[in-house]
Each structure stands twice: as structure tokens, then as C-alpha cells.
């Protein structure tokens, strides 16, 4: 009887904050971000949202054992402690949204949040930068606690004038083993491994540039890099803005222990543009993309560059590759697709990549979509649930392989935002949802893009001032 009375009281108190007189509206509520019918991790921060037109909004969130009414007038805010308890206790939640329009409250069709127990890494690391052309203002690499809204800077470019920080990368999502590039005066590659921070000059006489796009070997012993001569192409038509392309590129492998940069003729063929290396989950294969090198005299030639997906055996003991390279997803050519950002899942089953009609700098390609290659069957398919009419580009898998985070320009076509999505064992994705923010309006006002989202297993302890004490190293070129 007491329990019943308590539950009645709880429901009554909860309902007190809800609008009294409501009229029913058909369809799901017009809210941003779109959190309607999604699967969420059990450790995610509260999903705050708002009405699309900024009208007053309320939500009743109900589970089998608990329910709560949102806080906030113009945004649905969820108390963190109650949210945490709900996620721990429930398998799914039903969300009933009330929006006030023209002085009257309307209740919309309820939607669900399925709570998945598949583990999600606790942190997400990304860069925030304005999506620009050549100049860059404020930028930084940040880490975000996914269970809360706490975002802290790992490094910002306020340390050195005209500096740029980019390409952060982790060895198997380990917060103690990571690297990023510092461009500009005194630039180089900062690598933290085995508790030591080193500042590496990765340009060698035999490489076309300093190291660019990185990928750690899962053991942390090597980092595969691309080296690229990068150019920009500015379009004048309204449909396109900019293209970024390579005039030359190769793939090299840096061995941390010996500080050697391995140059292999297969991966450094001057007639081929090799880029975006990625080690397989077992560390035995190096994936990369490649296209025939050619001169780019005009924009129509640019449209014809298509990268294919390749894999080559890698021997972690000797740190060398073993030819021949094998073409994966060979039908990309006939399908008119160009592949970039191959990223294997940590369980070794799948390889996700970005595909667009040409080139490899997909963030400026509206047609860029995410695809999935089943490494066990060799079958490829577009990850339809994740794709939109706008760009989907960089992506990363959680350590459990069940969650993917990717960058997308679906909100406004220009500013990249991060989306998370759940994947089941069969490789089927649920509807993606935007990275929750404390104030759902903050992303609307943010004049920066999020890029290179990477899951991390823990908090990164790095103080930018450590950089000035880093041991300086010059990479030594090594050919097999």
C-alpha cells in the first residue's frame, strides 16, 4: 500500500510540471537535435533538446520503473543524477513532448530511446576549427566526457602565434599513447608513448612532406602516416566551394622504438597517390587508399580522380610490408566511387570507409557517405542509416566496435557536427543522434566544425606546457 501511495505521489508530483490542457498533434514533435527513436548508450550524457522554432517545450520521460519531467522552459533539460539512474535501471524510455504554440500546448506522438548495454568509451577527442580556406583563427583539440557535458582543452593554438594543431590519433584508444601535429613556427609531431613526450621532425629527404594522416598500430609500436603535397582548388559555382587534393602522396611507417621512418617502394610509388593508412585490428594488415597520380590542369580532371581501397600484409616484428597489395572493394571503380578514411573495427570484423564520387578530401563533398565492408565476406554496402543528403566524412569506432562516431554536415551543409550511432552484430546501424550538448542551442551558434572524432578509453592527461620540455627527435629514413 505504501509503495502504491509513494508511486502515486511520485507520478502526481512529476505530472505537476506538465501542461494541464493540451491538444493532440499528429506526428513526432519538431525538435532539434533529432532524438526521435534512437538507440543510446547507457553511459551517455542527458539528451537535452528543444523545439525547432524555439517555442516553450516540456517532456515526460517514462521507463518501466521510473519517470521524470524535464526542467527548463525553452529547452528540455534532464537532471543528471535522475538520468543516470534511469539509464542504469531501464531498457528503454518513452518520451512524450509538449510544445507550446500560439499560446496553447500541444502533445505529440511519443517516441522511444532504446538503452543499449554495449560499452561506449568514456571520452571523445576532437578538434574544433572554423571550416575555412587557408587562414585559421581559434582552434584546439578537446576531450569530452561522454557521460557529462564536460569538455576540456588538450591543446589550443593560443600557445604559439600562427600555429595549427591537427591530426590527433591514439593507439587503440589509449589515452597514454597518442600523437598530434603542431604546424607553424617550431612545429613537428608530438608523440606521447611509454610516458615520454617527444617532438619529432618527420620530414626526411626521401619524403614529399612531413608526416600527415596518422594511424597507430594496435600494439603502439608503429605509426603509419601518409605524406602529402596538398593543394586547394576554389570553385566559383554556388554548388561547390573548395576542393582539396594531393599532387603527390605516399604512405610511410614510423617505428617509435628506433625512430626510423620506413619507406617502401610499394607504398611510395611516384606514379600512385597512396594515402589514409590504417592498420587492421590484429596489426597484420595495412589498409590504405590509392589512385593513379596525374597532373591536374583543370577542374574536370579533378573530378576524375578516384581512390581505390587496398590492403597489404604488415610484419610488426620487422616493421615492413610484404607485397603484393590486394585491391579490396574493386567494384568502386565501376560504381564511380572514390574511397577515403578506411577504419577497421577493433573486433576485426568490419572496415568502414567514406566514399564520394571523386577525390579524397571528402568533407567538402556533399555526396560523401559512409560505407561498410564486411572483412569476413568481402561484401560492401552503404551504411544507409548513417547517411544524409550532406557530407558524412571522418568516423571512428568505439573499443567495443558497437558504436561509431562520425562527422556530418547534415545540419546546415557547412558546419560539421558529431553523430553517434549503434551497430548490432550483423552490421546494421540504428538511427544516429547528435552528440548531446548541455544547451542544445550551442551547436546552432557555434561557428566552428568538429573534426577527427576519436573515442578514447580514459581521460587524457596532457599539459600543453609539457611540449616545451619534449625531447626533440629527427626521424631517420629507412628503406628495406
Amino acid at each position: 500500500m505504501r509503495v502504491l501511495l509513494f508511486n502515486f505521489l511520485l507520478v502526481f508530483l512529476c505530472s505537476c510540471n506538465l501542461p494541464g490542457r493540451v491538444s493532440e498533434s499528429n506526428g513526432y514533435p519538431p525538435v532539434i537535435p533529432d532524438y526521435i527513436n534512437i538507440t543510446i548508450p547507457h553511459t551517455i550524457a542527458p539528451l537535452h533538446f528543444m523545439a525547432k522554432d524555439g517555442s516553450p517545450v516540456k517532456a515526460l520521460i517514462t521507463g518501466k520503473q521510473s519517470r521524470l519531467v524535464s526542467k527548463g522552459r525553452y529547452t528540455v533539460k534532464i537532471p543528471a543524477k535522475k538520468w543516470k539512474k534511469m539509464l542504469a535501471a531501464e531498457d528503454s524510455l518513452t518520451v512524450q513532448v509538449y510544445i507550446k504554440n500560439n499560446g496553447a500546448w500541444h502533445v505529440y506522438k511519443a517516441f522511444s530511446w532504446i538503452i543499449s548495454r554495449d560499452p561506449l568509451d568514456p571520452y571523445l577527442c576532437y578538434r574544433r576549427v572554423a571550416p575555412g580556406y587557408e587562414s585559421f583563427g581559434s582552434m584546439g583539440i578537446y576531450q569530452r566526457n561522454l557521460a557529462s557535458f564536460r569538455e576540456t582543452a588538450i591543446i589550443e593554438n593560443t600557445l604559439i602565434t600562427n600555429s595549427c594543431v591537427n591530426c590527433h590519433s591514439f593507439a587503440a584508444a589509449d589515452p597514454e599513447r597518442f600523437q598530434f601535429h603542431l604546424r607553424g613556427p617550431g612545429g613537428g609531431t608530438l608523440v606521447r608513448s611509454e610516458g615520454e613526450l617527444t617532438h619529432i621532425d618527420t620530414k626526411t629527404p626521401g619524403t614529399v612532406s612531413a608526416c600527415v594522416y596518422p594511424y597507430w598500430h594496435p600494439s603502439g609500436s608503429h605509426i603509419a602516416y601518409s605524406v602529402n603535397n596538398i593543394l586547394q582548388w576554389f570553385h566559383n559555382v554556388p554548388e561547390k566551394v573548395i576542393d582539396v587534393f594531393d599532387t603527390r602522396s605516399d604512405v610511410v611507417i614510423y617505428e617509435l622504438k628506433t625512430q626510423r621512418l620506413y619507406i617502401d617502394p610499394v607504398l611510395c610509388d611516384s606514379t600512385v597517390l597512396e594515402t589514409f593508412p590504417a592498420f587492421s585490428a590484429d596489426g597484420q594488415t595495412l589498409f590504405y587508399t590509392a589512385a593513379p597520380a596525374r597532373k591536374i590542369p583543370d577542374v574536370f580532371m579533378l573530378d576524375s580522380i578516384r581512390y581505390g581501397l587496398f590492403g597489404i600484409s604488415f610484419d610488426p616484428i620487422t616493421g615492413t610490408v610484404i607485397p603484393p597489395a590486394e585491391r579490396l572493394f574493386p567494384e568502386s571503380d565501376t560504381a564511380g566511387l572514390s574511397v577515403s578514411f578506411p577504419r577497421p573495427s577493433p573486433d576485426g570484423r568490419y572496415l568502414m570507409f567514406t566514399s564520394s564520387s571523386y577525390g579524397n578530401f571528402t568533407i567538402w563533398h556533399d555526396d560523401a557517405d559512409l560505407w561498410l565492408l564486411d572483412l569476413s565476406t568481402g561484401k560492401t554496402k552503404p551504411a544507409e542509416a548513417l547517411n544524409s543528403a550532406h557530407t558524412e566524412s571522418y568516423h571512428s569506432r568505439s573499443s567495443s566496435s558497437r558504436w561509431v562516431v562520425f562527422s556530418s554536415r547534415r545540419d546546415d551543409g557547412r558546419y560539421t557536427r558529431l553523430y553517434l550511432a549503434h551497430m548490432d552484430e550483423g552490421g546494421t546501424f540504428d538511427k544516429p543522434f547528435a552528440l548531446p550538448q548541455k544547451d542544445p542551442r550551442s551547436d546552432l551558434y557555434l561557428i566552428q566544425s568538429y573534426n577527427i572524432p576519436e573515442f578514447v578509453k580514459g581521460k587524457i592527461s596532457f599539459y600543453p606546457r609539457d611540449m616545451f620540455r619534449a625531447k626533440h627527435i629527427k626521424a631517420q629514413e629507412w628503406k628495406h
Binding site: 583563427g137 600557445l159 566559383n236 554556388p238 599539459y463 616545451f468
Partner: protein, 533 residues
């Protein structure tokens, strides 16, 4: 760009020097109205003088003028807004208020507590001006000999030490000058600048001098000292002030508003000498169709019709390209300029330009984003609200008399926007849109300054009435290179032009061929440009 949002307030204030940045940026937005900006600066500088005098002494009727020194100093700094900002002044004022409060606490223990706590808070809220505040608190303590001063002085030192130890932990992503100054006193926050510490020390010295000097009343000595201070201030200002820069920015805002005749009238009144003003003037000449008749009345060179890739040139070029119908390119340069602002702030003016360019290019979602931001500003709110419906109904843009025309000029054929080949871009534009009169005029000017008679004939075959400078070119070609450009042979030219050219050629024949001797009569002709530029 100051935003009236809680996010902006929190984001700005919750970092070292953030409150100073917030207050400073709030004030700076009023500079949108030039006279109000001047009034605000005058008020703040007078407030600085009053606070310096109040911190220094309780005596009234001082006429030495020494207390004006920091104000003059800051006024000199503010003449260079590319380096110094108003935020440093705001911060110094708050620091002086903290010192004044300290001075008026008579309890020894409370003063010590204030010294201990106010300095870390001051550093976090206002940045590096906590340093002169600490020095002035110590000076105040030493001056008042009747007070027991060991405890308060120790508290001030402890306050400084706490700040110094805590600062790197509070802001781990900052170091060196960015950590020390905290707030954006300077636009280049990562660089040390000795001027500000010198200003702070000067302020402390002024306070010390006002205390140790005997009271200065209305005497000849006081008058002389005041005159000396004011003359020194005036001379410093005169030395530092750069009126040329002001005229460049004035020109920019006039072309931004499309007040073409005003630009031309101003240039006629005072001959522009810098490349950016002439660049803006050329756009005005192209817009009003006066280029063919008077462009060489002003100093021309290939640079005055080029696209700039750095500094304020980006602003001018963005404006030029926008008006010529190169929307993607204009957007790119506006963005580049904003990203190259050394203090890494957003500019409402440039955000507004990016909203316009995106609307014209039919990228309505991103235009909406920019307009949403502008709705949170004071001076761009109204314009943003007016434009917002266009993001939902693109037809409103197409029907707009200005945006609609520019939208119509959007190129159909894709090519690379290479600013080193502006002639290529213009040629494509006028081939696709021969009704883009501004681009047509601009291209004509481009070919004239690049001395290209062949291309001029091909693209702009002379049609009566032939503009004056074109007649000058044709007359020159007919007289000097008839075999090289035979197509110009039969183009009718005014007799007055021919006569003037014959006179010029005769003078040259006689050896009067220097710019000095020909300048008075021919400086405003195309021939002068051909011969000497």
C-alpha cells in the same frame, strides 16, 4: 562580435581576463556609431585620469596635469587599434577601482584580506592589470605612514604568489604572455609587448610623484607643468596618429554601403595616395560608369585593380568581388579576413557578409545560422530579422533588387577562382553575363591599366560615344603603333584629343619628356600613365 546570449557570457567570462574581455567587447560594439565611439573613449580616458588622481591623493585643486599622463599614454596606444584594444583600458580602470577600494578600507585586517583575495580575483576577471594593482596597493600602504603596514603588505605579496601559482593550473592551455595578460589587451595575445608594462609602471610612478611632490596650486609652476604635460601628449599623438589608415577604413565603409559618389567626391577633394583607397575608388568608378572618362585622373597601377590576399586588402577585395558578382570568392576573402584577425574574434560585419553571400548562393541553412547569430547582436539584429524570412523563402532573394541581380550573375560554368588571373575570371563573367555592367566596366579598367589595346578592341570595340581615356589610347595607337593595331585605324577621335596628343608629342620631341614637365598638363591622361607608370 558581442552576443547577448548566456553561452557567450559564460564562455567569455570563465577564463582569465574574461570579464574584461566581456565588458570591453560590450563597449566596443558601440563603435559602430563613430561619434559614440569617440565619446566613450574620451569618457574612459577622463575616468582614468580621475581614478589616478583619486588613488594618488585626497587633495583637491591639483593643477599639475601629471594625472593626465596615463590617459595620454593610453590615447596614443588606442590610435593603433590594430595592436591595442580598449579592453586594456577597461581592465586598468577596474584595477584602479580595486586599489581605491583598498585605500578606503581603514581596518588593518580587512585591508589585508582585500589585498589577499582581490588580486587573484582581479587577475582572473581582468587579467594582467592585477600587477599594477598590487604595486599601487603597496605604494598606498607605504605612503600612509600612520598605518601599521606589515600585515597588509604580506597579504598583498601572498595574493600575488597565490595568483602566480594558481594561474597555470586555472588555464593550462595558456602560457607566457597569453597567461600573463589574460584579457585581450593586445590583439596578438601570444606575443610579449613591453608597452603595457611601461604604461603600468608610468601609472605607478605618477601616483608616487603626485604623493611625494609638494601640493601644486594655481601657480606659474603648475601652469608650466600642465602645459608641458599637455604639449607632450599632443606631440606624441601627432607623431603616432596615422590619418592615412583612418582614410582607408573610411573608404572601405563607404564602398561597403555602396555610396559610390561619396567615394569619388572624397577622392576628388583629396587625392588618394594608398593602393587600397584607389582600389575602392576604382570600384566606385566602375559602379557609376565613370571609369572611361576619369580613372586616370587618379594614380593608377596594376595593383589598384588586383585582388589582395592579406590584411585589410582582403576586406576591399571581398567587397569588390561581391559587387562584381563573384560570390564564392567574396565569401572566401571575408572568411579569410575574419580568420586572420589576431585576437581570433568574430566580426559581426563579416558574419553579415557571409550570411549575404550564402543567401545569394542559395546555401540557406548556413545563412540562417549566421543570421541567427546576428539576431543576438545589438546593431545587426534588425537587418538579420529582415533577412531571416529569405532563408525560408528563397524567392525573396531572387526578387531582391540587389541580391537577386547578384544571384543572376552566378556563374554556370565551373572553374578555379585564381586571383592571379583576374582577367580570366572577368572574361568568363562578362561572357556569361554581358549585362553585368559593373564587371564590364571593371574589366575595361583592368585592360586599360594593363595596357592591352588588342584585348580592349576584341572585348570592347569602340562605340560612340567613346570614353575619353579610350579615345586617348586610340589616338596614341593611331599615332604611334598604327601597324601593330590596324583595327583602331578608322575609329573617329575628337579633334581636341588629337590636338592635345600632338602637343604632347611635340613636347616630347623637344626633350620635355620628364613626368615633372609633362605632369601639369597631362597627369590626368592615359598617355601619362602609358609613358610613366
Amino acid at each position: 562580435m558581442f552576443l547577448f546570449t548566456s553561452d557567450y557570457a559564460a564562455e567569455t567570462c570563465l577564463q582569465p581576463g574574461g570579464t574584461a574581455n566581456y565588458i570591453g567587447r560590450f563597449i566596443i560594439q558601440f563603435f559602430h556609431i563613430p561619434w559614440l565611439g569617440a565619446l566613450i573613449i574620451a569618457f574612459l580616458l577622463l575616468l582614468l585620469q580621475v581614478l589616478v588622481r583619486k588613488v594618488a591623493t585626497e587633495r583637491t585643486g591639483e593643477f599639475s596635469g601629471l594625472s593626465y599622463i596615463p590617459s595620454f599614454f593610453y590615447l596614443c596606444l588606442l590610435t593603433d587599434l590594430t595592436r591595442f584594444t580598449l579592453i586594456g583600458l577597461v581592465s586598468l580602470l577596474v584595477a584602479l577601482l580595486a586599489v581605491l577600494a583598498y585605500k578606503h578600507i581603514y581596518s588593518n585586517g580587512l585591508r589585508a584580506l582585500w589585498g589577499l583575495t582581490s588580486l587573484p580575483v582581479l587577475w582572473f576577471a581582468m587579467g594582467g592589470t592585477a600587477v599594477p594593482a598590487a604595486l599601487l596597493m603597496i605604494v598606498t600602504e607605504l605612503i600612509h605612514k600612520e598605518r601599521p603596514r606589515i600585515l597588509p603588505v604580506l597579504a598583498i605579496v601572498a595574493g600575488c604568489l597565490i595568483t602566480a601559482f594558481a594561474a597555470p593550473h586555472i588555464a593550462p592551455s595558456l602560457s607566457g604572455p597569453a597567461l600573463f595578460y589574460g584579457a585581450n589587451y593586445l590583439r596578438f595575445i601570444e606575443q610579449w609587448n613591453l608597452v603595457l608594462p611601461i604604461l603600468w609602471i608610468t601609472t605607478v610612478l605618477v601616483v608616487v610623484c603626485l604623493n611625494i611632490m609638494p601640493p601644486v596650486r594655481k601657480t606659474g609652476y603648475a601652469l608650466l607643468l600642465s602645459i608641458f604635460v599637455f604639449l607632450t601628449g599632443y606631440f606624441s599623438l601627432w607623431r603616432i596618429h596615422d590619418p592615412g589608415r583612418e582614410s582607408v577604413l573610411r573608404c572601405y565603409f563607404t564602398i561597403h554601403k555602396g555610396q559610390w559618389n561619396k567615394v569619388i567626391a572624397r577622392a576628388r577633394k583629396k587625392m588618394p595616395s594608398d593602393v587600397l583607397t584607389i582600389n575602392g575608388l576604382n570600384l566606385a568608378l566602375a559602379a557609376t560608369g565613370q571609369a572611361g572618362d576619369c580613372m586616370f585622373a587618379f594614380p593608377q597601377s596594376p595593383q589598384t585593380l588586383s585582388v589582395f590576399n592579406a590584411g585589410e586588402g582582403l576586406l576591399f577585395s571581398a567587397e569588390t568581388l561581391f559587387n562584381l558578382g563573384f560570390i564564392n570568392e567574396a565569401q572566401r576573402l571575408s572568411h579569410e579576413y575574419m580568420e586572420s584577425l589576431p585576437d581570433r574574434q568574430l566580426s559581426a560585419l563579416l558574419i553579415a557578409q557571409m550570411a549575404e553571400t550564402n543567401l545569394i548562393a542559395k546555401r540557406t541553412a548556413v545563412a540562417q545560422k549566421y543570421l541567427r547569430l546576428l539576431e543576438k547582436t545589438l546593431f545587426y539584429k534588425k537587418a538579420a530579422r529582415q533577412l531571416m524570412p529569405s532563408t525560408r523563402e528563397p524567392q525573396l532573394v531572387s526578387d531582391h533588387p540587389f541580391y537577386g541581380t547578384l544571384q543572376k550573375y552566378q556563374p554556370a560554368g565551373n572553374f578555379s577562382s585564381d586571383f592571379t588571373n583576374l582577367d580570366n575570371m572577368l572574361a568568363r563573367m562578362i561572357t556569361e553575363h554581358p549585362d553585368n555592367i559593373m564587371a564590364v566596366n571593371y574589366f575595361f579598367m583592368y585592360l586599360m591599366v594593363h595596357k592591352n589595346p588588342e584585348a580592349l578592341y576584341n572585348l570592347f570595340p569602340p562605340v560612340q560615344p567613346v570614353p575619353r581615356h579610350y579615345q586617348e589610347l586610340i589616338a596614341w595607337v593611331q599615332a604611334m603603333q598604327p601597324h601593330v593595331y590596324p583595327r583602331y585605324k578608322d575609329v573617329p577621335i575628337d579633334a581636341s584629343v588629337k590636338t592635345k596628343l600632338n602637343r604632347l608629342l611635340a613636347q616630347i620631341k623637344q626633350g620635355n619628356d620628364s613626368p615633372r614637365s609633362l605632369g601639369p598638363e597631362y597627369a590626368e591622361t592615359y598617355w601619362f600613365y602609358l609613358l610613366f607608370m
